[in-house]
Symmetry: C2
Subunit: 403 residues, 2 copies
Amino acid sequence: MQTELTVTQAERLILRTVPVWGGERAPLPSAAGRVLRENIRAERDLPPYNRATMDGIALRWKSWQSGRRAFRLEGAQSAGQAAATLLDSHAAWRIATGAPIPNGADAVVPVEHVRDAGAGVQIDSGYRPKRGQFIHKKGSDRRAGALLLKAGQRIGGVEMALLSANGVANPLVARTPRIALVSTGDELVGLGALPRPWQIRSSNGPAMAALLSRHGYAGIRALHAPDDPGVLADRIDYALSQSDALILSGGVSKGAKDYVPGVLAELGVAPVLHRVRQRPGFPLWFGMHGEIPVFGLPGNPVSSLVCLRRYVIPALDKAQGAGQARPETAVLDETVMFKPKLAWLLPVRLSADKTGRLTAQPRPTNTSGDFASLAQTDGFAQLPANRSRFPAGCTARVFRWNG
Amino acid sequence: MQTELTVTQAERLILRTVPVWGGERAPLPSAAGRVLRENIRAERDLPPYNRATMDGIALRWKSWQSGRRAFRLEGAQSAGQAAATLLDSHAAWRIATGAPIPNGADAVVPVEHVRDAGAGVQIDSGYRPKRGQFIHKKGSDRRAGALLLKAGQRIGGVEMALLSANGVANPLVARTPRIALVSTGDELVGLGALPRPWQIRSSNGPAMAALLSRHGYAGIRALHAPDDPGVLADRIDYALSQSDALILSGGVSKGAKDYVPGVLAELGVAPVLHRVRQRPGFPLWFGMHGEIPVFGLPGNPVSSLVCLRRYVIPALDKAQGAGQARPETAVLDETVMFKPKLAWLLPVRLSADKTGRLTAQPRPTNTSGDFASLAQTDGFAQLPANRSRFPAGCTARVFRWNG
């Protein structure tokens, strides 16, 4: 087991250790928000036919070039109909946006430049169409077989448009993991009860579930366990039997009642790391039970949310086969001081200035129990260890709660 | 009805017109992801008691200052127990992180600086504790009654932590709107069918539903209607009777089969605006049917996704009582040219450089039907009208698909 790693070492070790879980085929509408696990290629040419991009008339450009301005109409070409054929090369067809260009036509003159004239239409004398204009040519976006989406993308609006348009009715996607949260601590009481002065309300379970759901992880099972090694072992054992990933909060520090590492060892969870050179979150614990990653997060609300966002969510994303998130940086807009020789995961409020620069306004917490200070924050900055002064204007990596 | 507004005028008019829908009380766990509709104040002092922030021993600092280094132990104070009382002012208590400080004690000496010695403990001779150290004082984060969360915040991890910790079992949140999507177009076929060469697969419904779900709008009802005014009127009438918001795609341009504005007028939907000086998305239509906002988006996949993100989602957010999203800007990393005298909503890929600057790499589409080009984009930049050249290095507002 590794101890007292740096933030980067801990992140790498966790990401290296977590396996990639299997995929499954899912009907397309229910695939929204899930991680695509296969490459998707164009089913056919895109667009699949020569497609009008304006409402107007379709004609043969040479006919206009030869001086003709009045065109007899052979019909109206709508979207959803097979392409007609221009029988008389000096005639034209009315055409709607999205409709196939009639065979033989090679330009669209928009309706704004056309007037009705007798049985046909007249093109404005000052208007000069170009050959091929307002035609979105078959195959001009992508050829059949071209790579459209790569495995590892999460399916949002754009990805769903491409899957639907290419007839991928049952894409291969990551299985939805069953995630169990176990919060520990005798001082915690639930929503129904009135807390005694020395008790605090349990908040880590719902808070972690809400954060996970913003990252696409729903259907979380949340349990509570008292500071009793027997009961704790029972709960964890049960959670392990029902879950693909287990997240604990509390009980991982050095106190007499911090039973979590011992209980996990008894249950055969192989420890991988304990303690990371960071604040908050120093006592972080991580191990594996077969294919099941097990995270022991410190019980303070600030620590547990920070560690969840910094380590657990990237690990779950990796296990789902998702590509790594691209790093984000911001400029501190205020000087801050930090004495411990640890990395500082400092809550910040983010805002973009008019020059495209992201600024981070520090919102230090009183202690890692002071989560009221998180209320107006967007995430946290990661400030390196072994420095005590971070001047206004310096840049840092930032992690958004919801990003 | 207003026509040919600028992007900003259109946005303002839509946001001004859309009403704020009502709220409802929801049990806390199901409130995740929803918009909070009430201010939340601290239930009691935070923290509610003087709380140890380290494992160690709690003692009276003056006793150490007077020269004492060996302390008899009166007991062990755990989290979840009422605060004990230090009976002998020269004794000490073992204490765990999170536990209440025994009455009479005013400092915690961490376990690392303490050795067992007989029936008590010995503090390292070189260690110099400070009065009050490692005590998170009652009320030091927030006083009872202090404002913690403001109406209009979406409930993520941090907000959920504060709601749980303050016993808000049934917060007032925005009602979940029933949203209907109606896509139109005879050229569209569903996933089950094999498209004929002149047909295209329907993609706007699933794509818009997926994008809406990334913004917290789930439970969308998606319908399709052919280009037939009677059937279209029936479908829209039904959708209006079942929905809080209606989004149509297709049928809003100037073609002979663009029946949507006419049908909406017949059904008593009051038009508010039609056509916005932008590309893609010029034919955008918006109106109101009583309290129900009705959006007619152009049917091209690029246009419909761009208009959904640019206008519909902010309007839904406003109707839910959510605060306005803070604007984001980025620097174009490549010069682009755009001839039409319209604003350009240009798809881009976003990345942060190491100086905190967000750069936008243009990914222009061939036409507004070329949605394959959207595959690797993160959103779009909004480039102002009446300029044809946007040099590398210029800044622009950007909108993330999922942000």
